[in-house]
């Protein structure tokens, strides 16, 4: 185990510590270094997948029984072999690394492990090679690659050792054959604090060779321990005997003998990667009444759920919820129209949540655990803030859906909810800057309430209900391509699911806040009036509005980029919210004001790649963006500079202000805006390369 795996850990030792539910962090079984270190199907992940990148620039395959294979390499690294050598097949001949010594702990020794031997058929399989690599301590490591050869000559062995000893990355020419290649590097550092570095792996990379109910080899799990957190032995009845392996068709039924069928994935294909070598022999199923491979893939959800080591004897096959055809939105245009409405609603909710957050007189830093009252306020306020940040993401997702459906993003803010269906069933609400009174929290709970089980006869058209209706309408739509549906439905479902979480979080806020009529915990009044021009806080009030404008401008860039930067732009926007908007608002409140979140007007036309944002004031002074014909795209730096300009212009004025606080704030803001611009530019440049 590399040393850094051991760092910054706190592990319970005695009984009270072990019983303590508040132990920080995930359970030890969830840490990669604490899992059952094994590659047998069914465990947390397949460690062979973890080690396949143990040397930077090389991708090894360690699953084949025939040995380790080079599957890919970084063409820019100048490794001493040719593409032709690679195409002909390069096999792992040996691996070298620091191995901890049992007799002298702490003094790892550089050790070579041969994967092919000097005698025929002496080679090691991929798993054996993996077992050796996983022991490597941090530090220098090497791999020796060569053509697929069953046997190593003594001469080759001594030349390889010479090259390894010299510490060189080099090719050893072999007359009439591909060279033997020695590559030195640093053993990759995959694990940081027990957490797998997500940069190194693609989604699904680590679990790809595990068995899961929906994967082929689930029924081939032959061991007597199923994954550590899943039962291996189950009882069919509470008092009945425990039975090994629970992949049966149905308890108590006399099931027909399953048909013999060819394996879904040919035997051999997995281990060699070579379809030609695959065995296609049909294999008989092992046990009658156990689901066979094909049945498992098509009906894995029929496996009984195991609770308390006992199979449940029944399950309810609950059909996916649906709506009558008449309740669905008739066409793409209506869907887009509703999404535009919802984008404005998400924006308005985000602002309401933010105002509620700032209205609570909570400490800025987490108070001491013994400070019960301030701690409750701190928790309440920050829970509201966390939902506001989620709403910013929803706001972004709705706009993403809009763009994907061929609509235009909406940055404007709704002023009230509307009876979009004209049937009188909706939650009437006029959006306002309202302090976090119990009544306001009750509204937050109501608006986030789950209505996934849509019952149009009883329930109001909640925001959540509208998303459900959109989901089902998009799913049924014949005007939207499947590729677009795949993206859009996923995002819609995320919004629905997170809404349910918001409902719970706001309930928690209600518990945390003092009961009415005690509103002493509030520091802002509802519906604030703008400060008078002569008020000392007036300068800050303007700064807050400009910061808000910058956030919206940045969001426009995010919408324009889509998901090209994998969320990094949104993260940078969030930083702007914390570094700029948040600090400005705190200053404003200290100076006696309140944030007004005045909707800005947009002044310049910007081509953002996927659409052109064109100023057009609609809906109560908000922003609305119209699509135009593609014109010339501005360069990235200009787009970003335009986004932060409202604040930059103000900063140049304020840094020379007579008000020392304003001056200090402006110079801090200059730094913050520089950081935001840099983060945007870096993310976009990285994505474009």
């Amino acid at each position: 185990m590399p040393n850094d795996l051991k760092s910054r850990k706190i592990m319970p030792l005695n009984q009270t510590a072990r019983a303590d539910v508040l132990v920080r962090g995930n359970p030890v079984t969830t840490r990669p270094d604490a899992t059952v270190e094994n590659t047998f199907p069914g465990l947390e992940f397949d460690h062979r997948n973890l080690e396949k990148r143990f040397l930077d620039g090389l991708l090894l395959e360690l699953h084949a029984a025939s040995g380790g294979w080079l599957r890919d390499y970084d063409r820019t690294r100048g490794f001493p072999f040719s593409q032709a050598d690679f195409d002909a097949g390069l096999k792992v001949w040996a691996v070298v690394g620091n191995i901890p010594q049992l007799d002298e702990p702490g003094t790892p020794r550089m050790t070579i492990r041969w994967a092919i031997g000097t005698m025929a058929n002496q080679g090691a399989g991929g798993s054996s090679i993996w077992q050796f690599i996983r022991e490597f301590e941090p530090g220098p490591a090497a791999v020796v690659l060569g053509p697929d050869r069953p046997q190593l000559t003594l001469d080759q062995q001594s030349r390889i050792i010479q090259t390894l000893t010299a510490g060189q990355t080099a090719a050893i020419p072999v007359p009439g054959a591909a060279p033997i290649v020695v590559i030195w590097g640093q053993r990759a550092d995959y694990l940081k604090n027990g957490v797998i570095d997500p940069e190194r792996y693609e989604p699904g990379d680590l679990t790809r060779s595990l068995c899961s109910p929906w994967q082929y080899d689930f029924t081939d799990c032959g061991c007597w321990y199923w994954a550590s957190n899943k039962p291996d032995m189950v009882s069919v009845t509470p008092d009945g005997p425990q039975i090994y392996n629970f992949q049966r068709v149905r308890t108590g039924e006399i099931a027909p003998e399953p048909p013999t069928h060819p394996p879904v994935v040919a035997q051999g294909l997995w281990s060699t990667g070579d379809p030609a070598g695959a065995t296609m022999t049909p294999s008989a199923e092992r046990v009658p009444r156990r689901m066979n491979h094909a049945e498992l893939i098509t009906g894995w959800e029929k496996l009984p759920v195991v609770i308390d080591d006992t199979e449940t004897d029944r399950f309810v096959d609950r059909p996916a919820e649906t709506l009558p055809e008449s309740e669905l939105f008739p066409d793409r245009a209506t869907i887009v129209d509703r999404l535009m409405y919802l984008a404005g609603i998400e924006h308005a909710l985000m602002v309401e949540y933010l105002y509620a957050f700032y209205s609570i007189n909570a400490p800025r830093q987490r108070p001491l655990p013994t400070d019960t009252e301030p701690l409750r306020l701190f928790e309440a306020a920050n829970t509201i803030l966390s939902v506001a940040i989620d709403e910013m993401r929803h706001f972004r997702w709705v706009n993403e859906i809009l763009v994907l459906l061929g609509g235009m993003p909406v940055v404007s803010r709704a002023t009230e909810t509307k009876d979009t269906n004209g049937n009188g069933r909706y939650l009437p609400h006029t959006f306002a800057l309202t302090a976090a009174t119990q009544a306001q929290i009750d509204w937050f709970i109501l608006v986030e309430q789950n209505s996934r089980a849509v019952d149009p006869d009883v329930q109001s058209d909640t925001v959540d209900g509208m998303y459900t209706r959109l989901y089902l309408s998009i799913e049924k739509s014949t005007e939207i391509s499947q590729a677009i549906k795949d993206r859009v439905l996923h995002l819609t479902k995320l919004i629905i699911d997170e809404g349910y979480d918001h409902f719970h979080r706001f309930q928690r806020v209600r518990q945390l806040l003092p009961s009415p009529p005690d509103v002493r915990y509030l520091r802002l009044a509802s519906n604030p009036m703008p400060l008078q021009p002569a008020d000392t806080g007036k300068g800050f009030e303007l700064r807050v509005d400009r910061s808000y404008e910058v956030i919206l401008n940045l969001l426009m860039i995010v919408f324009g980029r889509g998901d090209a930067e994998h969320g990094q732009l949104l993260e940078a926007t969030r930083i702007a919210m914390v570094d700029s908007l948040d600090v400005e608002i705190e200053n404003l409140i200290t100076a006696g004001g309140a944030p007004l979140f005045t909707p800005p007007s947009m002044s310049t036309e910007v081509n953002l790649g996927r659409f052109t944002a064109k100023p057009s004031v609609v809906m109560g002074g908000g922003l609305h963006v119209e699509r135009t014909a593609l014109d010339e795209m501005l360069d990235i730096d200009t787009v970003i500079a335009n986004a932060t300009r409202p604040l930059d212009e103000l900063n140049t004025v304020d840094v020379t202000s007579a008000d020392i606080q304003l001056q200090a704030r402006a110079s801090r803001s200059v730094e913050a805006m520089t950081r935001v611009r840099a983060a945007f530019a870096k993310a976009i440049r990285a994505a474009e390369q």
Partner: protein
């Protein structure tokens, strides 16, 4: 509790042969740390800042294992009878002043014992585990009452559906065959006091009549108890240590050479005027001697042996369980002691101390006085206890000693616990079977 947390009283980083560890006072929780985290925690603690890593671990308010609220007086389940406030030995250090507690020698009449036992049984919740202890002086000075009360308590408890156990602290010098038979026939935990080898024991303990060696008399009594067919359920040796006792490891070897279940030490803190009691400075030497004994016990534990050093064993078991309490003992709570005149006192050491009287057998235990005692004695309300990391292990120190001498043993207590924490960290990881052995050891159960 609205006072800010004193983090140094909540968390302590300590080391052992296995690396760095964390002790959290609340819940007596023990953790392993890696070096990096240990270093950063120590920095935070030295600055008296709450380390962010511990934010979720340090409980507050309702999440604490030990809150600042006082417990209501629990039912009394443990009663000791001071059957003889008189003794046949004269030990220079005796807190009981040779059993007389500073007053006149007297023995407990049968009717007082009867009323006390009746009261214990009547006021217990159904099916309780009860304990009657016989204390003195030397209990066997009042042999007749010990025999009668044992039988009476056992029978009455059984009839009422309770389980009754017994304990007795004796110098064993007066033991007869009949006494030994009684102690083995009923579930007794017997603690025999023996203070050293013949020379050192007899230096501080003489037979009051002046004839013969006290040591020889104790050993003779002990041998009547260790005869296998008469062996009590649990037999331990208690060695009282004065500043003149000398090397403890050798003494412990000597004590354990008798066939007893365990042996341990208790320093003399509170003694009658003019007699040898420890001063704070002497306790440094005592600590060193105790750690020397503990180190040997640890060495043997790591080698898979059990060396029955009771102070060490108890500490290991308590740390393993994460024992934590805001009081030093059950005195005045679930435990009371009956003086020979029928008064109910906090414990056998506090007999005849008006400040710790909680009623009498005629009117029963005084709940209001016990509640006030528990309110007053919560360790979080004691100074300097409330800022000490060891407070929930120590509980604030023996009421008897603190009321006589103040808290002079704090450095000793912390030093000993520091050693024990470190030993626990090593044994629990290198020889975890120690704890299952200890817990399942038939005679290893502590009764008193």
């Amino acid at each position: 509790m609205h006072t800010p947390v004193d983090i140094t009283a909540e968390a302590r980083v300590f080391r052992s042969g296995r690396g760095a560890h964390l002790f959290l006072a609340d819940g007596s929780r023990i953790f392993n740390l890696d070096e990096e985290l240990a270093a950063s925690l120590m920095c935070s603690l030295s600055r008296r800042e709450i380390p962010p890593e511990l934010g979720d671990l340090i409980g507050f308010g309702a999440n604490r294992y030990i809150g600042d609220e006082t417990i209501a007086p629990p039912p009394v389940k443990c009663l000791s009878l001071n059957v003889a406030q008189a003794c046949n030995l004269s030990c220079s250090y005796c807190y009981a002043d040779e059993g007389r507690f500073g007053g006149k020698a007297r023995t407990m009449p049968e009717d007082i014992a009867r009323k006390a036992i009746d009261g214990l049984i009547a006021d217990s919740p159904p099916a309780s585990d009860l304990l009657v202890g016989f204390m003195g002086g030397e209990p066997f000075v009042n042999r007749k009452l010990v025999h009668w009360a044992t039988r009476y308590a056992a029978e009455t408890a059984a009839a009422a559906g309770h389980r009754m156990r017994f304990s007795i602290t004796t110098n064993a010098t007066l033991l007869t065959d009949q006494d030994a038979a009684l102690l083995s026939a009923f579930p007794f935990a017997v603690a025999v006091s023996l203070d050293g080898d013949r020379a050192s024991n007899d230096l501080q303990r003489q037979i009051a009549s002046g004839r013969g060696s006290a040591y020889d008399a104790v050993v003779a009594g002990l041998s009547s108890l260790t005869m296998s067919r008469r062996r009590p359920k649990h037999l331990s040796l208690r060695c009282t240590v004065t500043p003149f006792t000398g090397s403890l490891p050798e003494l412990l070897e000597h004590l354990l050479s008798f066939d007893v279940d365990e042996a341990g030490f208790a320093p003399v803190i509170a003694a009658p005027p003019g007699t040898p009691a420890f001063e704070a400075t002497d306790l440094e030497q005592f600590l060193a001697e105790m750690i020397a004994c503990g180190a040997e016990a640890k060495r043997r534990a790591l080698a898979g042996e059990i060396w029955a050093f009771s102070n060490f064993h108890t500490a290991m078991l308590q740390l393993h369980r994460g024992a934590h309490m805001p009081y030093p003992c059950g005195a005045g709570a679930g435990y009371l002691s009956v003086g020979s005149n029928g008064g109910l006192y906090g414990c056998h050491r506090l007999v005849d101390d008006a400040g710790f009287q909680f009623g009498d057998i005629a009117s029963g235990a005084d709940s209001a006085a016990r509640a006030a005692h528990l309110e007053r004695s919560h360790v979080d309300r004691q100074e300097p206890c409330r800022s000490c990391w060891a407070r929930y292990l120590c509980g604030g120190g023996c009421y008897h000693e603190v009321s006589r001498r103040g808290r002079i043993g704090c450095d000793y207590v912390r030093g000993w616990l520091e050693f024990c924490l470190s030993a626990y960290a090593e044994i629990s990881q290198a020889a975890p079977a120690y704890f299952s052995n200890l817990i399942s050891k038939p005679r290893g159960e502590s009764h008193a």
